[in-house]
């Protein structure tokens, strides 16, 4: 599904990724864990082809990739519902499906609100609803549960676990319990290299 071969990347002489290799087979779930600023986000951006590595190869065979970034990245001029519908057909026909995903994220009543009218945690849940709505075969999540309280976090994790349904998952997180709840293989990452 996704293969990174000896990826290296440096910014202004500082190595962020040093010959990193990663293989994510269909249905695999990998959690990258490491301290802040160790390069997890850069690795995910490289995997999504948003960042060109200095050397190495990225092979992505996903037909329907989806991502939740650290920022919600919602279109401010669209409602919550329209933001989710954007990755579907963006027509009225798929609005009920978009609404169903918002309901799953406990945001059913906020469908007609604009992102600016939502809290940070709610925006992040809309972003998750959008990612799951398109039924991805590769899901890349970069600390997606930031700003959620513990009880809600557990419920959302449960929804996510059910929704994954055979999709490959690449997750960056600080919290081991999230990785374990999603059934991920944990890969420790520090100073641009995998440590285990």
């Amino acid at each position: 599904m996704l293969e990174l071969k000896e990826i290296s990347l440096s910014f202004w002489g500082n190595a962020v990724l040093s010959k990193c290799s990663l293989h994510l087979a269909p249905g695999d779930r990998i959690a990258l864990m490491g301290p802040s600023g160790c390069g997890k986000t850069t690795l995910l951006r490289t995997a999504l082809s948003l960042q060109q590595p200095d050397s190495g190869t990225v092979i992505c065979r996903a037909r329907k990739p989806a991502a939740v970034f650290q920022e919600p990245r919602l279109l401010p001029w669209l409602t919550t519902l329209e933001n989710v519908n954007l990755v579907l057909s963006d027509t009225p026909e798929t609005l009920p499906a978009a609404q169903a995903w918002l309901d799953c994220m406990e945001l059913g009543d906020s469908a007609l609100l604009y992102p600016a009218e939502l809290s940070g945690g709610m925006q992040q849940r809309v972003s998750l609803a959008r990612a799951l709505a398109c039924k991805p075969d590769l899901l890349v999540l970069d600390e997606p549960f930031k700003g959620l309280d513990t009880a809600l976090n557990d419920r959302i994790l449960e929804v996510l676990k059910k929704a994954l349904d055979g999709a490959s998952l690449l997750l960056a997180t600080h919290r081991e319990e999230e990785a374990l709840a999603l059934g991920c293989r944990i890969v420790r990452y520090n100073a641009g290299q995998f440590v285990s």
């Binding site: 082809s49 948003l50 989806a66 401010p76 954007l86 963006d90 009920p96 469908a111 007609l112």
Partner: protein, 278 residues
Amino acid sequence: MKPSAEKKNKSAGRWQRFSGSRLSHPAVWLFWIAVWFLLSLLVHRELLLPGPLQVLQKLGSMMLTGAFWSSVALSLLRILGGILAALILGVLLAILTEYSSLAKALFSPLMLLVRSTPVVSFIILALIWLGRDILPLFISALMVLPVVWANVSAGIAGRDPQLMEMARVYRLPRGRVFRRITVPSVLPHFRAALRSALGLGWKAGIAAEVLTVPKQAIGRMIYESKLYLETTELFAWTLTVILLSYVIERLLLRLVLLPGSVPKAKDISGQKEEVGRA
């Protein structure tokens, strides 16, 4: 806060509603019309400075003639035609230059050149190339084009890179990215361009008409009023130009694209019901 400072602030607040965005407050206009009236009384020569009442009277009598309306209609047609052409061309050119670095390298200096050249130079030059009836259209378009191009280019370049990355990851079709991200990002810039374009195009078009004297045109009427020392008529035509500019700006800004880019929740309440039913 010290009492004197408080008093100063209160006084500033009192006058604030007459300034800034409220420049069109009727009291402000009445003040300047009164100044004009007093000055005309002081000068006491219609040939040098006619009073506001005389000008209004003249405008009223002009409005009863067919020549007035045909001149207004043809000037509007020429100048608005030029502005419309520049809007379309400016948007297309902005798209081209933002997506092609070669086109940007070619057209950027040209646009800068057009912006920096005095309008009179273009009018005289174009008089050699074009017929006098079409020249105001060309000049309006030429003056408006760089403004529209610059604003729309800034809008395209200023699209949120995070949203563009999101679109890339989700592999959104180009048409959807254009409709959902590019258009809303460019809209405020286009609106600003439209506002500048109307004023600029209108003034440049009238100036072109004055210099080229086409058959039926406001510019021709202004030129003839000056030629025959009909100062009151000159003022009446100038007032017509100002009023038309104001009305066109108001109308176009209200009709074309001017609701906010973010729709109100009530506008899509029907959509919510639709989802509920489904």
